[in-house]
């Protein structure tokens, strides 16, 4: 199984107890947890095997940045490693669970302040415990006409998702790029503000991505170099209008012209949202479970796929995106897009329009939801899912080849292919979802085998994943191998300099402090 799961925090029970007591004295007994039930509540909801392999030893839940500082200093004193979570809803990637057993969860769920929202300059300043639903409720309750970029599962943290490189499907879909201006507690307990925030009371902290000197913010995403205690997030001004375009395609190989045609429109910024292309499985998994369609072993045969497509009236691939802002400009862009597609296909777009004054429900605003949680039961039993998501050049032939390799591998390991593609301006994320039954040990073995094969296949073609589950963080880190893993070595050099006691999130993204590092 996962190499990372063999490591355990070297904290003696007495040492842990002393640490938790010291924290309790600072933040209150009721926010320090070490009972068996509490510990289990931080395990991975969709664990790919025995969840105890990633079980923490306890949890502490501060309310303020000052309390985070205190906890980090105490962790240094008692040499107790922490694992930071914002709200712990990183489902499919490990949820709240740490890479390494025996650490203490630093749970920021209580840090829920919405510190500032500026409607004119379209940004908010929030703490990591603020969820998508919280921020949306606040915007609505105060009549603020700013749109968020939400997810299929919006139970999580706005900041936490951005820090994990999470994505949506709006022009603001690259969430890490919306981060502007952070406050951090560093591994030594110091507090740092990035960019223009390094100056007292500078009003451009959350407005300008560049400060003076090196820009550090992306270094604190998918990392274990600091604890983000607040951040600015750019939001989208409510547009004057939207125009929705939908098209289906019948054959798997159609992904070639879909990606190439949409890709050009993305690079030119005619289409400004992260454009998604999904296969039929999305509709089937949202509405049904596998056994409703097929009970046999291995991946579903083509005849079953055809029945699914007929029932939901969907294509093998399904394109939907929106154009945003001035209705007249949207119409002009839609005509341009239609012309581009006429050159490659006889298929036509279905188009619908919304403008200010029309019913808001038709606007296409990205609202918080949990619909995608319905999919996890696809394989039967207590469901779970894990996504494999390499990043490729925005190129139809390459996207088809990656899709085809993945589909063949999934079939080989007995899984139904579920694919969606996110088109960025120059790259494409090719996401394949693997659904499994958490209680089927044999199936979980197959998930591990499949996932490692997919990592190797992608790496062989020069591609790496943008994000991964805690079981595979070391494997994916190892696939970034240029110059004898120079980037990982650099990250670990930095880790040792900033965090000599190895306190913050050991093993996150494969970055281990010296204390827990294993020689390859």
């Amino acid at each position: 199984m996962a190499a990372s799961s063999s490591r355990r925090a070297d904290v003696a029970p007495r040492q842990l107890t002393r640490f938790l007591k010291a924290v309790a004295a600072e933040i209150g007994d009721e926010w320090v947890f070490d009972s068996a039930t509490d510990v289990a509540s931080y395990q991975d909801v969709f664990a790919l095997g025995d969840p105890r392999l990633h079980s923490p030893a306890g949890a502490v839940a501060p309310l303020t940045a000052a309390q985070v500082q205190t906890i980090v200093r105490l962790a240094n004193r008692f040499k107790v490693p922490l694992w930071t979570i914002s709200r712990g809803k990183n489902f499919g990637y490990g949820g709240a669970a740490p890479v390494m057993r025996g650490v203490v969860i630093l749970d920021l769920t209580r840090m829920k302040r919405i510190i500032d929202v500026d409607e004119k300059l379209a940004y908010c300043v929030i703490e990591p415990g603020v969820g998508f639903y919280d921020l949306h409720a606040y915007l609505r309750a105060n009549g603020i006409r700013l749109w968020m970029s939400c997810l299929g599962n919006s139970l999580g943290s706005v900041i936490g998702n951005a820090l994990e490189h999470g994505t949506g499907i709006t022009p603001y879909a690259d969430h890490a790029m919306n981060l502007c201006g952070m406050e951090l507690v560093m591994p030594d307990g110091d507090i740092v503000r990035t960019g223009m925030g390094a100056m007292d009371d500078n009003p451009t902290w959350h407005l300008s991505r560049h400060g003076y000197g090196p820009g550090w913010e992306q270094m604190f995403t998918q990392s274990n170099f600091g604890v983000v205690t607040r951040a600015g997030m750019w939001l989208m001004p409510e547009p004057e209008g939207t125009l929705s375009m939908t098209m289906n395609a019948d054959k798997p190989e159609d992904i070639r012209w879909i990606v190439d045609t949409l890709g050009e429109l993305r690079t030119k910024r005619i289409i400004t949202q992260a454009t998604t292309v999904r296969n039929y499985m999305r509709w089937a998994a949202l509405d049904s479970v596998r056994s409703d369609w097929y009970d046999g072993p291995g991946a579903m045969p083509d005849e079953v796929i055809e029945r699914i497509r007929q029932k939901y009236g969907v294509g093998w691939w399904n394109i939907n995106f929106r154009l945003y802002e001035l209705p007249e400009v949207n119409d002009a862009h839609a005509r341009f897009i239609e012309e581009k597609f006429k050159a490659v296909t006889d298929n036509r777009f279905e188009i619908s329009r919304w403008r200010q004054g029309d019913p808001p429900a038709l606007s296409g605003e990205s609202l918080p939801g949990v619909g995608s949680m319905q999919m996890v039961n696809w394989a039967g039993g207590r469901g779970g899912h894990v996504g494999f998501s390499p990043v490729l050049p925005l190129n139809g032939e390459l996207a088809f080849a990656q899709f085809d390799r993945t589909r063949v591998r999934m079939k080989e390991f007995g899984f139904d292919y579920y694919g969606s593609m996110y088109l960025w301006e120059r790259a494409i994320t090719v996401i394949s979802q693997i659904f499994f039954d958490r209680d089927d040990a044999q199936m979980l073995e197959r998930v591990h085998g499949l996932f490692r094969a997919l990592i190797a296949d992608a790496a062989q073609n020069g591609y790496g994943e943008y994000r991964t589950h805690i079981d595979f963080m070391d494997d994916v880190a190892r696939s970034f191998a240029f110059n004898n893993h120079a980037l990982l070595r650099w990250n670990e050099k930095l880790k040792d300099a900033l965090d000599p006691n190895g306190i913050l999130s050991p093993g996150k993204q494969g970055i281990w402090p010296a204390r827990y590092r294993e020689e390859a």
């Binding site: 509490d38 949890a59 712990g88 829920k112 105060n142």
Partner: protein, 115 residues
């Protein structure tokens, strides 16, 4: 529009802001705490046609799928489901749903049970 509202006040009011369950005549909140906590913590999924309601319909039938209409929920079962999850529903830590909040939710969901 800067500094619309202080954060602490907001936190306390979030369940209410979310649904705007406020009596317009005297501006007083008209829901009991259990309902407010249920709305905040549970109704993201357990509302009519919500994800939780749909999944429950598959498991226990449509007539029992909407939790607020149930008259047969047992307190200990609600506690167990919230703390341990069930099927596709994830569990909740005691930081996210405190014990006190869970008790209010239990009171609310069992309010119509035959006594």
């Amino acid at each position: 529009m800067r500094r619309i509202m202080g954060g602490r006040v907001l936190l306390a009011m979030l369940p209410l802001l979310f649904w705007g369950v406020v009596n317009a005549a005297d501006n007083r909140v008209t829901v009991e705490p259990g309902q407010a906590y249920f709305m905040y913590h549970c109704e993201t999924c357990h509302l009519p046609n919500g994800t939780g309601t749909k999944l429950l319909a598959r498991r226990v039938g449509a007539d029992k799928s909407l939790l607020v209409r149930r008259t047969d929920l047992v307190g200990d079962y609600v506690r167990a489901v919230v703390r341990n999850g069930v099927g596709g529903m994830p569990w909740f830590t005691r930081v996210e749903v405190t014990d006190a909040e869970l008790e209010e939710i239990v009171n609310y969901l069992t309010r119509n049970n035959p006594r």
